[in-house]
Amino acid sequence: MTTSVFPTCQLLHTCRPRPHLLHRTPGSTTSNRRQLTLAVTATTRAMEAERKNDGALKKGIAEFYDESSGMWEDIWGDHMHHGFYDPDSTVSVSDHRAAQIRMIDEALRFAGLSEDPTKGPKSVVDVGCGIGGSSRYLARKYEAKCQGITLSPVQAQRANALAAAQGLADKASFQVADALEQPFPDGQFDLVWSMESGEHMPDKAKFVNELVRVAAPGATIIIVTWCHRDLAPSEEALQPWEKELLNKICKSYYLPAWCSTVDYVKLLESLSLQDIKTADWSPYVAPFWPAVIRSALTWKDMTSLLRSVVELAGGGVGVWEWNRDEGHLYSFTVAGAGAPGFDLQVSGRWLPVPLILCSPFRKL
């Protein structure tokens, strides 16, 4: 009996005169299409139940990124998204930054955006901007004005600090805001960018609506996100074992229910977007995870941390308080120790993901 399968990702793209979506998730080879999925919340009843949880979800997301962004940045730099790799390649942690930049460029290329910076977008919104990696890159590439939004005050602050440090404060600015209620007027941006943030949005319809609302006529929307597989015509929902596994991932990463690529396409079509294009980039992001795991396994010395507050009971995600001694890097970790760990399929192999973190751990 095998275990879980990581959801496939689909890449969506819609072109002029409307936005496009890109999706991506790691894992999943084309030959093995048993995929993890979570039931799409299609009914109003389901949505009502979700609305109650949204406040807690938002808070959880903000805190999660408040807590972990510093550590992430230490190891992975200022891009908080997957890299884009040649399939089946083996990469080391040091290749990741180039791959993460390649991800941005591949997304732009898929969307048909011009390589010519003079013909590129002039105003950009970065929805779920993290610490602003994409925004600063796009600001430099196109000499565009980029505005980023995130739920995490720590991230927004860091993003602005990095922009200032890089002399980009006039081109890239960041604030705390909700992607479901963007603080911008209609039609302001000619590029609407959502790089690996869509998976956090509890209300996909609202999320997409807002992306479209703030997009100018003729604008491009790019979404790179994690989706579950499209359901077969005879299916109403994912398989129970798929739902169960995906649920564990959702709990670990503060993710609401997933939807499929087709769900996104339908939303975009309902808003009369044109040139909607999708693609599955699973094979291109799969090499990301072994690098992550290897970085966890190549810890050098680790000194004991100060206090750690761990909330593990009930399957909740750990809320970690990090402290770093000078000069020591702490490995990327996932969720809480001993959580029913999830299994990733990466390039056809199953790897259990160890949840290794600081205290309450012994020194390695």
Partner: protein
């Protein structure tokens, strides 16, 4: 909770000199198969506290691990299978982990240990 995790966990209660390894109180163990990755096991091997793993596995009802190991055994499929099984396929679903010095119990519920320390333990 896998034994991989148990092998990394320690009681860091204030005043405890050595909180590793945690004792295991078993109420419910389940087995979940997962595909073996030799590379993964070989990478992990140097980080594993072997005696703690052997003892923990035995507590969970699995006594097949050799007491003594060396890295040459990583070439043996038979050894890797046992190592894999003990480390990754045995799950403590219900029970507790126990601080070796203070006896403080950390309950394990639905496979998740609650390592939350109280204010006075920090």
């Amino acid at each position: 909770m896998r034994l991989l995790t148990h092998n990394m966990l320690s009681s860091n209660i204030k005043g405890v000199a050595n909180g590793f390894p945690l004792g295991i109180e078993v109420e419910k163990v389940i087995e979940k198969q997962v595909e073996l990755s030799a590379d993964f096991l070989r990478n992990l091997f140097p980080k594993i506290e072997w005696k703690a793993l052997v003892d923990a596995a035995r507590t969970m009802g699995y006594a097949e691990l050799p007491e003594e190991v060396d890295s040459s055994m990583l070439d043996s499929n038979e050894f890797l299978t046992k190592f894999h099984h003990a480390l990754l396929e045995l799950h403590l679903e219900e029970g507790a982990l126990v601080c070796p010095e203070t006896g403080r119990r950390f309950p394990v519920t639905k496979g998740i240990p609650n390592m939350l320390l109280h204010e006075d333990e920090v």
